[in-house]
């Protein structure tokens, strides 16, 4: 009977997570490849950043909290971009936009002076990447190591800085 209660308590406490963005982005799994183009039209595969600690930032200009977060990402980019990590040399952000309109996307990149990698297929929520990564909501991000393995997902605010710092080489 006691066991039954424990199982129930576990199930109940974990219920919300069963709806989460779990399957393809579980910690330890290989991050699925993304091959999308930059604003200049250059194809930049995620795998081209191999060797670095990479934050895959799924965002869009129509997502207010995502745009707001870009300032924080700029700050973290400056702090971490040239540092060494336990499994990666240097830090890069791979921004994947779910925008639909090129002018919105490029306009915000220019306005926010975003200097890290930016890619998009401008397919809004129909982007195949949204399906591959099982994105349920924006903003969403995935932190991967130099081998493309997932270290963490959906870290924001202080948790993001802590999450990246955790992998700094001591």
């Amino acid at each position: 009977m006691k066991k039954l209660w424990l199982v129930t308590a576990f199930l109940v406490s974990n219920l919300p997570f069963s709806y989460g963005q779990s399957q393809p982005t579980e910690t330890g799994k290989k991050a699925p490849e993304i091959e999308l183009s930059s604003p200049a039209g250059k194809l930049i595969p995620l795998s081209s950043l191999k060797g670095k600690l990479v934050l895959i930032d799924f965002w869009a200009t129509w997502c207010a909290p995502c745009v707001q977060e870009q300032d924080e990402l700029a700050r973290l980019y400056q702090i971490f971009r040239n540092l060494a990590f336990t499994n990666g040399k240097g830090f890069e952000i791979y921004g994947v936009s779910l925008d639909a309109k090129r002018q919105d996307w490029e306009g915000t990149i220019a306005k926010k002076h975003i200097s890290w990698t930016q890619v998009s297929d401008l397919k809004f929520w129909r982007s195949p990447v949204a399906r591959t990564y099982n994105i349920q909501e924006l903003p969403f991000n995935v932190l991967i190591d130099g081998n493309g393995n997932i270290l963490a997902r959906n870290l924001h605010g202080e948790e993001l800085e802590k999450g990246i710092s955790k992998f700094l080489k001591k």
Binding site: V12, L15, P16, W62, C63, D99, W125, R131, I135, E137
Partner: protein
């Protein structure tokens, strides 16, 4: 043992309900639509797939007209787009069957559905609905395989 099972089931059901509520906050508080005006995606998909069913006029007031047959207005938070919607609505009888949707974000964060629904109300339309996409167009429409524009 039977009692324990009932208890466990009740707890699970309550938790699921509470979780659903936390994820999808009530759309009743001050929003320019009623619960009756929320059209379920399953119902619209069924109508769109039925060639014999009377078809509503569906307007996308968000970033992209994903729903099959829907007319792209653009984000209704932009005045020019809202004017464009008004021009389209001016051509329709007040009892026309109209559906609007955005689907960028959860309703609580969507900047587009409110201006569109307010416009419909102020223009005295009598048969207009908001497509119920509590999460977004991906989770509540695309992932279900409902009909999409090419």
């Amino acid at each position: 043992m039977q009692k324990a099972k009932i208890l466990i089931f009740s707890i699970l059901a309550l938790s699921a309900f509470a979780f659903a509520l936390s994820e999808y906050p009530s759309q009743g508080g001050g929003d320019p639509w009623t619960q009756q005006q929320l059209l379920s995606p399953a119902d619209l998909a069924k109508t769109l797939k039925d060639p014999k069913a009377p078809q509503p006029i569906v307007f996308s007031v968000g970033m992209q007209a994903v729903v099959k047959g829907s007319i792209e207005i653009g984000p209704a938070m932009v005045k020019d787009n809202l004017d464009k919607l008004k021009q389209q609505l001016d051509k329709l009888p007040k009892n026309a069957s109209i559906v609007v949707y955005c689907g960028c974000c959860p309703f609580s964060r969507c900047p587009n559905v409110r201006p569109a629904m307010e416009l419909l109300g102020s223009m005295k339309f009598t048969n207009y609905k908001l497509l119920n996409l509590p999460q977004n167009i991906k989770v509540d429409w695309i992932d279900h395989g409902y009909p999409m524009n090419e």
